[in-house]
Every structure is written in C-alpha cells, then in structure tokens.
Amino acid sequence: MTAFLQLLFQGVALGCIYALVALGFTVVYRASKVINFAQGSLLLVGAYLVSFLATDLNLPFVAAVVGAIALLATGGAVFQMTVLRRMLGQPVFVLVMITIGLSIVIDSSIPAIFGGNARILGDPWGASAVHVGGVTLNWVRIWTVVCTGLILALYFAFDRFSRYGLAMRATAADEEAALAVGVPVRRVYALTWAIAGGVAAVGGLFLAGFPSSVNPSLGDVALRAFPAIILGGLDSPPGAVVGGITIGIVEVMSSGYAPGWLGNDFSSVAPYVVMILVLLSRPYGLFGTRPVERV
C-alpha cells in the first residue's frame, strides 16, 4: 500500500508537468488549429531561463521564476506577432512547419549558448522531502502539484470569465465569424502564444527539479506528453489536464508494477497503449470536440 501511494504521488506530480505541456499545446491549437511542435523546446528554454536568472544573476528564486514566466510569455507573443502573423492566409500546415523549425533552432541554440553539460536549477528544494507514513514526498513534487493547480485554476477562470477568454473561445469556434463581429483575432493568437510560453516556463522549471537537472534533453518531454494531448482531445484544455495526469500515473505505475517479461522500459510504452485503447472507443479523445450541429 505504501508503495502504491508513493507511486501515485509521483505519478500525479509527473502528470502535472504533462498537463502543463498539454495545456500549452491545446490553447494554441484550439484558437488557430496550429499544432505547436515547439512546445517542448519552450519548456527547455523555461528551465534554462530559471537556472540562468537564479544562479548566474543570483536573483532570488521566486524572482527568477516570475522573470522566466514573463520573458517566455513575451517571447511567445513576439514570435507569433513577428513570424506567424506574416503567414496570414497561408495553410495551417505552413505554420506547423515553422513551429518545427523553431524547435530545431531552440534545441540547437541552447547547448551552443550554455554548453552541453547539466546545470543546477537554483531551486531551494533540492532533494529535501517530508515523510508521511512511509511515503516520501519531495518538496519539489509537492510544489509541482500546488503550482500546477494554481495555474490551471487561473487559466480556467480567465477562459471562463474574462473578456479575452471569451474572445479565445469565440475565435476557436469560428475564426471568420469572430473577425466579422470585431474580435481582434490577431491579438487573440498572440495571447495564446503568450499563455503557451508562460505555462512552458513553469513546466520546464519543475521538469528540471530533483531528481533531474537542467540539461538539453529536457525538451523530449513533449514526445512523452503527446499521448496526454491525444488522450484528452487536441482542442480541450480540461482534457489536457485529465489526459496529462492520467498519463503521468500510468507511466509511473507501470514502471513500478509491470512484470519483468514486458521488458525494462515498458513504462515509456504504456502511455501509448492507453492512448490507443482510448482512441479505439473515442476517436476524438476523452474531451475533444465531436462536431454536433443542428442544421
């Protein structure tokens, strides 16, 4: 039982990171139908930014985190406004290719600037933990869960109640109709990229926490979060959360319980197995939009 709870906690913490990755994906995809292949690379930038601000510039950790979020959110919006905006009227496919290009640029620039070695994050937690009845709760994982919960609550409140949240939903539903009634659609797109950047900074920082470190392979998390996005439904932020946490738990549980004959690394396959099983019965994912219209 202790082992189960331990794995459950680790699974939820890992799932929170996946949920943040998936949220960044779906926010952009829902509004503009662009699959952002650079989301994992944005996480990588986030981790390095926090590390740079906290260790090289010696900023207090909280300031480093806030600064990284602000910088990456700005960076996302600027990228959208300067690069993607020029592609107005081009097929979505072109934009998707540009995001692949962006991810290549980032993935190769980071080692060029910071070197290929692992860096320390500069976080105050390290490997410290509390022990509750035999279950080890690492502080970094506790904060992962807390901060993810906070960010998700903020995002959903924004989406549901704010003017620009409404504008995002209207743009997602029908871009041309939104333009036609006066929604500044281009500003909405810039906003979705800012959100993608902001959540990537948080995801990246926790991804680099103990037992990992700040290193150039962090961006690979996007591949591992992929089943979470598909599972939840590409265009559903709540689906991103449910999918992310589910996949996190599946991955950690299968690493703890999978029998030996499945091989050593079955835990990295298990999320895809779950994804395929779900898609067999729900082709649009758990929460994805299946168009329902009254004609």
């Binding site: 003017r163 409404l166 209207a170 036609a180 009634v181 006066g182 659609v185 329902v292």
Partner: protein
C-alpha cells in the same frame, strides 16, 4: 408557441435607439457624401481570378440598399471588400476606393472596422454554437463603439427580440435556424453599427420567418442604422430595402428602386431566377 412567433420582433419600445447609435451622426448629412461609397472597385482572388470589375454603389446615411444577383455574381465579394475580410479569403482590392463616413477604409482590418461602425452578419448565420446566447451577444460587444453602455444596449436588443432573453443561457447551437439568424443580427448590433451588412439572411428559412426578419430589419433601420442587404432571393429585399443594385458576373448591371427592379420581368427571369420562365422557384434560386 410556434417558431414563427418566437422570432417575431417587438416593434414598440424606445424609438431612438441606443442600439444603432444613430444620434452620434449629424441628422442632415449632405447628400453628396453617402455613408458608404464604393467606387470602381476591382477585386481579384489569388492574384488571378477577377471577381469584381469596376463595381460602384453607395448607401446613404440611414438608407436601405439591396445588392441582388445570381450565384457567383460577386455579391459576397463586395461585402468582404467593405468589411476587410477579403484577405481572409485570399482576395485583394486591386483598384477603386471604398469610403465609409468620408474616410477611406480599403486597407483597414476587420476588427477595427467593426469598431468604427460597420457591422455584418455573415452568410449561414455563423453563431458560436458552443457559446450561450448571452455569450454570443457579449462577443458582439467586443469592439463596440460604446462598451460602457453594453448592458443598456443588450437590454434594448432583448426587448426587441424576446426569444433571446428566454434562451439566454442555452448554447446557441440549439436554437432553430430563424432564431440563430435573429441572434446573428443581434450580435452584430451589439457593436452599435451605423451600417449593417447582411449576407443572405433569408437563406434556408421558411417564408413566414423571412417576413419576420424583414420586419426586424425595418425596425432596426427606423432606429437609424443603414442596411446593405445581399440577397439571391427577392422576398426579403422587397420588404426591407428601398434601392437595389443588380450585379452580374462582377459588374453592376443596373440600379433602381427595389420595387421597380423587382417588377421588371426580364430582371427577375434572367438574374434572380424568379418563377417567370422556369418551373418551381426553389429549384431555380438554388
């Protein structure tokens, strides 16, 4: 309660509308400066296909104008040119001018134009199906010229279209076709347009519903909002507009008062598919 009754607009209520914002414009604008003036407009799609070839028309302040013509004549393209949506469809104005309230708007972007007083209702209603009726109206107020008065404007619209108040919390996708059309019109009015452009608002609606939409448009016009109506069928144009232009493959063929135009048998038969020559009207117009 039948659908026809549900969408019927209530014509009583405040006569000078907060809805249309007409009071913000001079009551006696000189005749020479129409509210919307399109002059010798040429539009191409993809740099190759010529959609409009020297089209001129105008809508006077508070006036009602119909743009008639068969499928493919260029009616929707003309609207897109005015509202800044051409680029969205890969189209481009290559010559001519568009002036709204005296200012050139040929290069303005869509959202800005809504803010400066041009409202539009796209073909096929295009309500946000997953958003509630109330949320659809809120989106309409996004670029409004009088956002501070959003509540007041909405109240007035809900009095004009009571069905929207009844259905306020339902997803717009669950409304009937006629109700969705009413919602699309109300959503556009949330921005307090001085000119409302409507693309085929009668498409797919029963004749009685069309009559009621016509009544609503007249009420909106009485409150000071000019109308530019694009139609393939003639019933709504007859009800709601005074003047009409006939478009034929990218050019203005003729213009006259709507009644005159629609009483011309040749016009009806050749361009509008009215039942003069060929069998059933439905088959011909579609």
């Amino acid at each position: 309660m039948s659908q026809e009754e549900e969408v019927r607009p209530v014509t009583r209520g405040p006569s000078v509308g907060a809805v249309t914002g007409a009071q913000q414009t001079p009551a006696h604008a000189p005749v020479s400066s129409a509210l919307l003036e399109v002059d010798e407009l040429r539009v191409t799609y993809g740099g190759a296909v010529l959609a409009l070839d020297g089209v001129s028309f105008s809508v006077p302040e508070g006036g009602t104008v119909a743009l008639l013509g068969a499928n493919g004549a260029g009616k929707t393209t003309a609207l897109r040119a005015v509202t800044g949506l051409l680029r969205f469809h890969g189209g481009q104005v290559t010559a001519g001018s568009i002036r709204f309230a005296g200012r050139s708007i040929a290069r303005a972007d869509a959202a800005t134009l809504v803010g400066s007083g041009i409202g539009q209702v796209l073909e096929g209603r295009r309500v946000f199906a997953d958003l509630t009726v109330a949320e659809n109206l809120r989106v309409g107020a996004f670029a409004g010229r009088a956002r501070r008065r959003e509540r007041e404007i909405r109240q007035e619209l809900l009095e004009l279209f009571p069905i929207l108040a009844e259905r306020a919390d339902q997803p717009a996708g669950l409304l009937s076709g006629g109700q969705q059309q009413v919602l699309a019109i109300a959503r556009a009015l949330m921005a307090q347009p001085r000119l409302l452009l409507l693309d085929e608002p009668s498409l797919g609606l029963a004749p009685r519903v069309v009559a009621e939409i016509g009544q609503a448009l007249r009420t909106i016009n009485e409150r000071g909002c000019a109308l530019l109506l694009v139609e393939q069928s003639t019933a709504l144009a007859m009800r709601a507009t005074e003047h009409a232009y006939l478009l034929e493959t990218g050019r203005i063929r003729t213009h006259a008062s709507t009644a005159e135009m629609l009483s011309d048998e040749r016009v009806r038969a050749s361009y509008l598919g009215a039942p003069a020559v060929l069998g059933h009207p439905e088959e011909v117009t579609r």
